[in-house]
């Protein structure tokens, strides 16, 4: 065990200071969600609630109004799952296949394709709102969960392909050759050899994609149907009060509820994230 020299104490104090800074917004939200409305008006951001009340949480989950229905955010919570889970799964799978082809089955133009894809990361999504809407409309997918999943898959693809390609480039080509000689075909190699060793990068992809898709508002609001709106839309409706009293405690509770799944993913799978990044995805 290392001894606590002045230098170590300095390092620890800096680390802890930054922890406090990073945690502040979350702390503000948490504290506020447990305060009553008068308490919020009276105290300051980081003061503890005078009385801890949990009403805001129940209201946010079950009875707050987000339009003409006043059933809180719980329904939207499941809508988000219905959208995020397939979208994450499909985009990760396609990204893995693409990365595998680009890294190990190169053909003329595959690198060009990769470069073009990279540029795709930089396109502001507002640009594609309307043409994508027209496309979805043509295929009858407008305002359906399927359509929303499709949109997320298309624009998530770029990132997952990038991640998997960078990971698979670091896998020696001889492995693929050996498998080919052993009689394995394209898919056998992919499913039996590549995929089993891809766990770290799959974790990175899932974390990244899940966060992106779960937190997305723009696609969620324009491409969802009235009964498939994701939780970010509900949260927006809840928070953007136009008349009436602004219930900050309910807003904050709802915001934390909306953030719980992604927070959970980061806390539980965070270590795989750094491990996955180490495994190659950061090597450009």
């Amino acid at each position: 065990m290392t001894k606590f020299s002045p230098g170590r104490i300095f390092i620890y104090s800096i680390l802890v200071l930054f922890c406090a800074i990073y945690l502040m917004p979350l702390l503000v939200m948490l504290l506020t969600s447990f305060k009553s409305l008068p308490d919020i008006r009276g105290g300051n951001l980081l003061s503890l609630p005078e009385v801890w009340v949990f009403d805001a949480w129940f209201k946010a989950w079950g009875t707050a109004c987000t339009g003409v229905t006043c059933e809180g955010v719980k329904g939207y919570f499941w809508n988000s799952f219905k959208m995020a889970v397939p979208a994450v799964f499909i985009s990760t799978l396609i990204g893995a296949l693409n990365g595998y082809v680009i890294a190990h089955w190169r053909f003329k133009g595959s690198n060009l394709f990769f470069a073009l894809m990279l540029f795709g990361c930089f396109i502001p999504f507002q640009v594609i709102l309307l043409p994508m809407a027209a496309t979805l409309g043509k295929f009858g997918l407008a305002n359906t969960t399927t359509g929303l999943v499709f949109v997320h898959v298309v624009y998530g693809l770029v990132f997952t392909t990038l991640f998997f390609r960078n990971f698979y480039v670091s896998v020696p080509g001889e492995l693929v050759k050996a498998a080919k000689l052993d009689g394995a075909g394209f898919f056998t190699i992919f499913f039996k050899i590549m995929l089993p060793i891809s766990k770290p990068i799959i974790m990175v992809c899932i974390i990244w994609q899940f966060t992106q898709i779960w937190n997305d508002f723009l696609f969620g609001v324009v491409y969802s149907g009235s009964d498939s709106q994701p939780i970010t839309v509900a949260l927006n409706n809840l928070v953007n009060t136009s008349t009436g009293v602004k219930e900050y405690n309910v807003d904050m509770a709802a915001a934390i509820i909306a953030a719980l799944p992604t927070l959970f993913v980061y806390v539980v799978a965070g270590k795989y994230f750094v491990r996955g990044l180490t495994a190659g995805s950061v090597k450009g």
Binding site: R8, I11, L15, F18, C19, I21, Y22, L23, P25, L26, V28, M29, L45, L46, S47, L97, N98, F113, L116, M117, L118, F119, F122, P124, F125, Q126, V127, L129, L130, P131, T135, V154, L157, G185, F186, F187, T211, N215, D216, F217, L218, T232, L235, V239, Y248, M252, A255, A258, A259, Y266, V267, G270, K271, F273, V274, R275, L277, V282, K283, G284
Partner: protein, 290 residues
């Protein structure tokens, strides 16, 4: 027969993605490009206008402001995120107890969207509600922090919030990079008599060049696309002093019925990305090959 199938399989597998990328990225960009040359207002129409929209854009004070803001915001955000991320990664790499917990704390802002944290941030930065009030309550009455409501400083609040959100991710990338470095290099340098700061500065950080590269790419894509951030924090205000191109584009194309102008601004953004990124990508990738 099977033979040829195997040969074509990689292309077949990639082709849906190629198709999607071609249509849903480049096709749509081309469509937007075309739109920027039309008189489109409320919804797209195809009445040819030449470079009219671009001329209008260049004369638009708000557009100029938003471009300057992006430059300030982008440069500061990228530099601060990378410096802070590197610093935290180096500190965390010193056999820290509870490293996992600290790492998660640095990383969690990435998990939250500004739809979620926007209100909290607005409070914290607001002089009457947040940090300034808190400091006053605690007796430090001369404390002043009114960037959010100041014309000149509001764009820097965007930097603060954006750094808060993304520096943890940059930290994770650098931590991963540090873990990937051969420890014998460090030993060799120690034997050569180099101090730890020198080792980091002269040996380890240069080794992390590819990580810098990835970090620049990722943070610059976040900077260019920053939209939720501005809407949640300042909505471009006070006035339009903290407007960014992404917000400009959205506002004009969707709420003001100036789709042609919005399209033109989107094309300018893409051109800007190309102009800055392509030379950087090119030089980086060429350096690496050497």
């Amino acid at each position: 027969m099977f033979n040829t199938l195997q040969k074509w399989l990689p292309k077949i597998i990639l082709s849906p993605s190629i198709f999607l990328v071609t249509v849903c990225i480049y096709g749509y960009v081309a469509w937007t490009g075309y739109l920027s040359l039309t008189h489109s207002r409320f919804l797209p129409n195809f009445k040819w206008a030449g470079l009219l929209q671009y001329n209008k854009l260049m004369e638009n004070d708000r557009w100029v402001t938003s471009c300057i803001n992006l430059l300030i915001f982008g440069v500061l955000f990228i530099i601060i995120s990378i410096i802070l991320g590197t610093l935290l990664a180096i500190l965390l790499d010193q056999n820290i107890r509870q490293e996992g917990a600290i790492r998660t704390i640095y990383l969690y802002p990435m998990a939250l969207s500004f739809i979620v944290t926007g209100t909290a941030w607005k409070w914290i930065l607001n002089p009457g509600l947040g940090l300034e009030k808190m400091m006053h309550d605690w007796g430090w009455t001369s404390f002043e922090f009114n960037w959010l409501v100041s014309n000149d400083m509001s764009v820097y609040t965007l930097v603060i919030a954006a750094v808060w959100q993304s520096s943890g991710f940059v930290m994770a990338m650098f931590l991963a990079g540090l873990r990937g470095i051969d420890s014998s290099i460090v030993k060799a340098a120690q034997i050569d008599g180099a101090s730890m700061p020198t080792i980091y500065w002269k040996i380890i950080l240069p080794c992390l060049r590819p990580v810098f590269f990835s970090a620049v790419i990722i943070t610059s894509h976040i900077a260019i696309k920053s939209f939720d951030l501005v809407t949640a924090l300042t909505s471009g205000g006070p006035g339009y002093s903290s407007d960014l191109p992404a917000l400009f584009m959205y506002t004009h194309a969707f709420t003001r019925g100036q789709m042609g102008l919005g399209a033109a601004s989107a094309m300018m953004m893409l051109a800007g990305v190309l102009a800055i990124l392509v030379p950087y990508l090119y030089s980086e990738l060429r350096n690496r090959e050497q």
